[in-house]
């Protein structure tokens, strides 16, 4: 392994969106802070965007030791080319041992190119990070079907994209007097330009990240209508596993998990969901979890508060009957 000791510190990638940070980016800072503390090293953040205002100061107050700011009109919207350039240029200067991105639209587009540029490993959609203090190795824990896998990177920097929960903004305000370093980018012409942007029309039923109650269905739930009825009765929304959205039984906006949304409702009712890692990553931090499944050994019961072994359609139908009376 080549000269690993020259790499020190943890760096997180943060982007501005409208007047604040991109959703879930603050959760990434909390996570980065924990990892940096474990390794007794510094946490830095790269904050990119246009008219950053007081956002760099906010990052300092959230416990970032060094905030690298890149404030440029060209960075108003994400573009692969410019963002790749600023991140790569900064990594070449600062040599962090760990670099973290959110596994969102931007992170999934950007991180692979950055890892390729540095000829280093990249692990996708991590749900948990641990460290080995002696080797300074980052243990990147990702869902792997029914199991979890620990991914190790033998090159530096160790780069990962993280599934950060929607409400997981556990910010530790410790008013560190971190440094702010302004970086002036050197942009060349890029080969891609934005022609237009249209906001998606998202119904309240599809804003599942904001819901307090989610009734989620998996392949084992034969009657999705019943689940929808229960969701409506409890003023909640309907969620789904990838198997259900892949089969076009519900639209992708309802998909929860590794490639879908990360949710954290107060109440999560899992109907006919076995609990594959890819799904659990998206809902395990919910308040109270109810699992209904025919297989008593289904992994979903390991993360549930209440379990019912049985046919979810029958149980839900019974619950509806009781609620109606």
């Amino acid at each position: 392994m080549k000269n690993i000791d020259k790499y020190r510190g943890v760096l997180v990638f943060i982007k501005k969106e409208q007047d604040t940070f991109v959703k879930n980016n603050l959760g990434l800072i909390s996570l980065g802070r924990v990892i940096a503390d474990e390794l007794e090293t510094k946490l830095s953040a790269i904050l990119a965007g246009d008219s950053l205002g007081d956002l760099p100061d906010k990052l300092r107050s959230y416990g970032v030791d060094i905030v690298y700011t890149v404030d440029n009109p060209m960075l108003k919207r994400y573009s692969t080319f410019y963002y790749q350039k600023i991140v790569c240029d900064l990594l070449k200067e600062s040599n962090p041992e760990i670099v973290l991105f959110c596994s969102d639209d931007v992170g999934m587009d950007l991180a692979p190119r950055v890892a390729c540029e540095f000829q280093t490993g990249l692990s996708a959609h991590c749900m948990e990070l641990k460290t080995d203090k002696k080797s300074r190795q980052l243990l990147q824990i990702c869902p792997y079907f029914d199991h979890m896998a620990t991914i190790l990177t033998n090159t530096r920097p160790q780069i990962a994209t993280i599934q950060v929960g929607a409400k997981k903004d556990l910010i530790r305000k410790d008013n560190r007097k971190g440094k702010i370093i302004d970086v002036v980018p050197d942009f060349e012409n890029q080969n891609v330009k934005i022609l237009s942007v249209h906001k998606k029309e998202i119904s309240d039923q599809e804003k599942i990240e904001e819901a307090d109650v989610i009734v989620a269905v998996g392949r084992g739930m034969k009657n999705i209508q019943l689940a929808e009825e229960l969701a409506t009765t409890l003023s909640g929304v309907i969620g789904a596993t990838q198997a259900v959205t892949d089969a076009d039984l519900l639209s992708e906006s309802h998909m929860i998990g590794q490639t879908g949304k990360v949710v954290q409702p107060k109440l999560y009712i899992a109907c006919g969901i076995s609990g594959a890692g890819q799904h659990i990553v998206g809902m395990q931090d919910s308040g109270t979890i109810v699992a209904i499944n025919t297989d008593e050994n289904a992994p979903i019961f390991k993360i549930a508060d209440y379990g019912i072994v049985g046919d979810a359609s029958k149980v839900i139908s019974e619950i509806l009957k009781i609620l109606k009376n």
């Binding site: 079907f145 990177t153 490639t259 149980v315």
Partner: protein, 258 residues
């Protein structure tokens, strides 16, 4: 226009060895990764409107010939299978190196299409890394694409919005599942596919550095697989359907959740 489509053969159904947690590939029917079919469909529909040649590229075991033959039957012109024991165990970086080195050997490429993600690993990393190795631009998560001379217009589907970009060729595009409806080849198509060129290239054929491929050449390693920890003490509700339904509602009411 030269179009290269990168595809992967994946198990038709995800079956897990409960003990080891690994994917069972033996005796499980294999198929083309779902959104890679969308990528082939896009290529073939572009060929119908423009003068184009479509080359399929896949890295995999010799059995992956089947996936390539299916793609040829859908309308691709030729196929390359990258097959070598030295490729086994490659992570995304090593896989992208193998695929991009093969694409360099194919030489002519204006548009490279990949599915956004595979159903057996789902990292979404290989496409952008191929683009980086080839030093070309990328447009990911595409749901609509048209060719305008030496440029493309492509619409990306993002979390909250649709973004339409113009990109100069050459460019690599990753496509979302469901962007189009992949055609079903006819018997005649399948017959004709068997007469199309399917090349099999080894590590030596593409002159890729053996230190950068396979398990040993990959910077990431999968450590032990383990069962998720039991994070909560699950109270199992027992009895008749009516009993469990009532009991659950009592618990939820006492917690003021409903």
């Amino acid at each position: 226009m030269d179009i290269v489509v990168c595809i992967k053969q994946v198990p038709e159904e995800i079956v897990i060895n409960k003990k080891t947690g690994t994917l069972i590939r033996d005796n499980v029917r294999a198929t083309i990764n779902p959104c890679d079919k969308n990528a082939i469909e896009l290529a073939v529909s572009l060929k119908e409107r423009h003068n184009a040649k479509i080359t399929l590229v896949s890295m995999g075991p010799s059995d992956a010939e089947k996936a390539l033959t299916y793609g040829l039957a859908m309308g691709a012109d030729q196929a390359v299978l990258l097959c070598d024991k030295a490729f086994a165990g490659s992570d995304t970086l090593a896989t992208a190196l193998v695929l991009s080195t093969a694409i360099k050997k194919i030489k002519h490429f204006d548009l490279i299409l990949c599915g956004k993600e595979t159903i057996d690993s789902g990292t979404q990393q290989v496409g952008p890394q191929i683009a980086h190795y080839l030093k070309i631009s990328q447009v990911t998560s595409v749901i609509d694409l048209s060719v305008k001379g030496k440029k493309i217009h492509a619409t990306r589907e993002l979390r909250d919005e649709f973004e339409t970009l113009e990109a100069k060729l050459p460019v690599l595009v990753t496509v979302n599942k469901g962007m189009n409806k992949p055609r079903l080849p006819t018997y005649l198509d399948i017959y004709e596919a068997s007469n199309k060129d399917l090349f099999i290239w080894s590590a030596k054929d593409i002159k890729v550095n053996k230190d950068q491929i396979g398990l040993n050449g990959s910077p990431t390693k999968i450590g032990n697989l383990f069962q998720p920890e039991k994070k909560r003490r699950c109270i199992m509700l027992k009895g008749s359907t009516s009993d469990v339904a009532n009991s659950l509602l009592d618990h939820l009411r006492s917690k003021e959740l409903i």
